[in-house]
């Protein structure tokens, strides 16, 4: 009891310290209500501590510190991701909207508005979404104070509403230009029944970045999400995507992470309509002790005949650390559930570490759920086979490393994006950073 009281005190203190430097933005009554409720949830939960169940593998202290640790800018010698793609660009520099670099936010089949503007309106569709999915605690006792803090204090972000099948993707481009930036963005995406939209996210965003995205996919709608987090070594990020899926709808998300001293990517998806499908995948590559990557995924099946698939792969080298926490929860009545989860890491040396916590919790009797987690080295047999055919050691290693990541990359449906990200990975391996 003493220990628990001490932890509660520590959390209350660090929460107070952090909140000291933050001011809640102004807005319409509904937005202010969402923000004050989020703040109340946050104060109630307290910011995360290493001793919290879902933070034991990832030290949150630098994410919750009052001041963001500085992050050196990275001179990226690669072109920006998805450069050749015809898309609607929405640019944020260190978390601040850059109108000049952004496209016109008018697009057929879409309604796009900045969160800072939407929250000023007395009536706005985002009212039904902003802070709403984040606040739903479909998995009972798992607190998400980082997300609540984001809802309470995010000044900006985008609200995207799709009411048709939209071909042209929306690309949120996050530039990092200040060493000390501490950015908070919150996005709301509403895909109306039968509509479809693709959201691309690219770039490092800030020295420290907090991002929450809430996505509501209507019946038979489809949401596609492909993201490449920037290569800046010292950047830190907490991101969370919340999804709620209607009947027969689809939510597919892929994330590529190369470098980053600390990345925590959370995915919380609820399958609430029958026959909905979600695929969440990620490939992360890190080199050195200054790489820590955490994927934390919660999928809740709360309808009949839904499919969920999680594929997460990590390549870790020179003391890099990878974390995977993934849970499939099948609620009573969610029969004919098809749940799949795989998390694997390729450890290129003895110094690197992979920490995995796969969980299944099933309250229905007619379900098929499987999960697997492995970590291993490059196969010596395969390496020798390639070398015996004349392929040099480093090239053979890279080929096998890309082969290891292929299962995750295969989750990207669009070939243009898949090829772009595949090349980025190949380049990363060749450069080794």
């Amino acid at each position: 009891m003493v220990a628990r009281a001490a932890l509660a005190k520590a959390k209350a203190d660090l929460t107070a310290d952090r909140l000291d430097g933050l001011t809640s933005p102004d807005g319409a009554a509904w937005a202010q209500r969402a923000r004050s409720e989020a703040l109340a949830r946050l104060t109630d939960m307290g910011l995360p501590h290493r001793r919290d169940e879902y933070w034991k593998y990832t030290d949150p202290s630098s994410l919750v510190a009052p001041v963001a640790p500085k992050a050196a800018l990275f001179d990226n010698d690669e072109g920006p991701a998805f450069d050749g793609v015809d898309r609607i660009k929405i640019v944020f520099v260190d978390g601040v909207f850059d109108a000049e670099s952004s496209s016109d936010l008018q697009a057929e089949g879409l309604e796009i508005e900045r969160l800072s503007e939407a929250t000023q309106r007395d009536i706005h569709w985002a009212k039904e979404l902003f802070g709403v999915l984040e606040a739903r605690n479909a998995q009972g006792a798992v607190p998400r104070p980082m997300s609540a803090m984001n809802t309470a204090f995010a000044e900006d972000g985008v609200c995207i509403r799709a009411f048709a099948k939209v071909e042209k993707p929306v690309n949120l481009i996050y530039l990092h230009k200040s060493e000390a930036s501490d950015a908070i963005l919150h996005h709301c995406v509403k895909v109306e029944a039968g509509a479809e939209v693709t959201l691309l996210e690219t770039g490092p965003a800030a020295a420290r970045f907090s991002k929450v995205m809430e996505v509501d996919v209507g019946d038979h709608g489809a949401f596609h999400h492909v993201r490449a987090q920037g290569r800046d070594h010292e950047r830190r990020a907490y991101t969370a995507q919340y999804g709620r899926l209607g009947e027969g709808s689809t939510y597919k998300s892929f994330t590529l992470t190369a470098n980053g001293v600390l990345t925590r990517n959370e995915t919380i998806i609820e399958l609430t309509g029958d026959d909905a499908v979600t695929h969440v995948a990620g490939a992360a590559v890190g080199d050195g002790k200054d790489f820590h990557h955490d994927d934390t995924v919660f999928i809740t099946h709360d309808a009949v005949g839904c499919e969920s698939r999680q594929v997460f792969k990590k390549v870790l080298r020179n003391g890099a650390v990878g974390v995977f926490q993934g849970k499939i929860l099948v609620q009573p009545g969610a029969q004919k559930t098809d749940g799949y989860q795989i998390s694997q890491s390729l450890l290129l040396d003895d110094d690197s570490q992979f920490l995995a916590k796969p969980e299944l919790e099933i309250y229905a009797d007619d379900v098929a759920c499987s999960h697997g987690s492995t970590s291993g080295a490059i196969s010596e047999e395969a390496l020798f086979y390639l070398k015996s055919r004349g392929v040099p050691h480093h090239e053979a290693t890279n080929l096998l490393t890309l082969a290891f990541l292929a299962e995750a990359l295969d989750e990207i449906e669009n070939q243009t994006y898949a090829v772009d990200l595949h090349e980025r990975l190949a380049n990363w391996l060749n450069r080794r950073n």
Binding site: S379, E380, E381, A382, F384, Y385, L386, K387, S388, R389, G390, V391, P392, H393, E395, A396, L399, L400, L402, A403, F404, L405, A406, E407
Partner: protein, 251 residues
């Protein structure tokens, strides 16, 4: 072409001598066969020559075209013209067979200072060679050896050999796990590559492969040594009488 002198090899992990003085010379244009009972050191010889980890050469030498190969990395040996057709070809999930072949061909060309083959040229050559080995487009697209039958794996080995055009080919029990038709197909593939400038070392338990790949010289290996060398008739002798007589002769 390939010259092996007094080769002594032990397992790195344990103090166990496997090869105890192998002497063997394969001339260009010739096919040599090595036969011998299980555990005689045949496969070890093929692995040591191609540079697999886990073996320690304690004495002797091996040269290819006059170059010492034992000090080379496996990929350098390959570039120098050595090829091993594996007894158990390795499955590599995630790497397409075509990508694998092209990477190998171009890596060797690069190592030899030759220009890399363009995608179009490569495709043309590989299709042609695959066709004679009855390897279809589907097999070329699939990941290397993944889900291949025994026969498909061995045909894939021969396809690699045909693409890489090595000077010295070692076939390690290429007949194992093959039915007669598959063995014929593989043998035809090998025979098509027989050439004045190319040497072959065919390792096998059984004479039947040698009905299809006719050897010039046959060696009998036992307990880490070549105990007898002769013409193709030696293989027939083994077929009829087993290894027993030869082994007792050697003692």
């Amino acid at each position: 072409m390939l010259e092996i002198k007094n080769l002594h090899v032990k397992l790195e992990e344990e103090d166990k001598q496997i090869l105890k003085g192998v002497d063997l010379t394969v001339e260009a244009g010739k096919v040599h066969a090595i036969m011998g009972p299980n555990g005689s050191g045949k496969s070890t010889l093929s692995y040591v020559l191609s540079g697999k980890d886990g073996y320690e050469v304690t004495d002797g030498a091996a040269t290819l075209g006059g170059e010492d190969i034992l000090e080379m990395e496996p990929e350098e040996r390959a570039a120098a013209g050595l090829f091993l057709a594996f007894q158990y070809p390795v499955e590599i999930p995630g790497v397409g067979n075509m990508t694998f072949l092209r990477t190998a061909v171009n890596a060797q060309r690069k190592a030899r200072g030759e220009e890399e083959l363009s995608a179009a040229d490569f495709l043309k050559v590989v299709r042609e060679k695959a066709k004679t080995l009855k390897i279809d487009a589907e097999m070329l697209k699939r990941p290397v050896n993944v889900g291949f039958s025994g026969g498909e794996k061995k045909r894939n080995e021969i396809l690699q050999m045909a693409m890489l055009e090595p000077k010295m080919c070692i076939l390690d029990e290429t007949d194992s796990g093959l039915d007669v038709d598959a063995m014929k197909l593989v043998a035809e593939g090998v025979n098509a590559l027989r050439d004045e400038g190319r040497g072959f070392l065919v390792i096998t338990h059984y004479q039947r492969l040698l009905d299809h790949i006719k050897p010039d010289v046959v060696h009998i290996m036992s307990n880490g040594r070549i105990i007898k060398t002769g013409g193709p008739e030696l293989a027939l002798e083994v077929e009829h009488n087993g290894y027993g007589d030869l082994l007792s002769e050697a003692v």
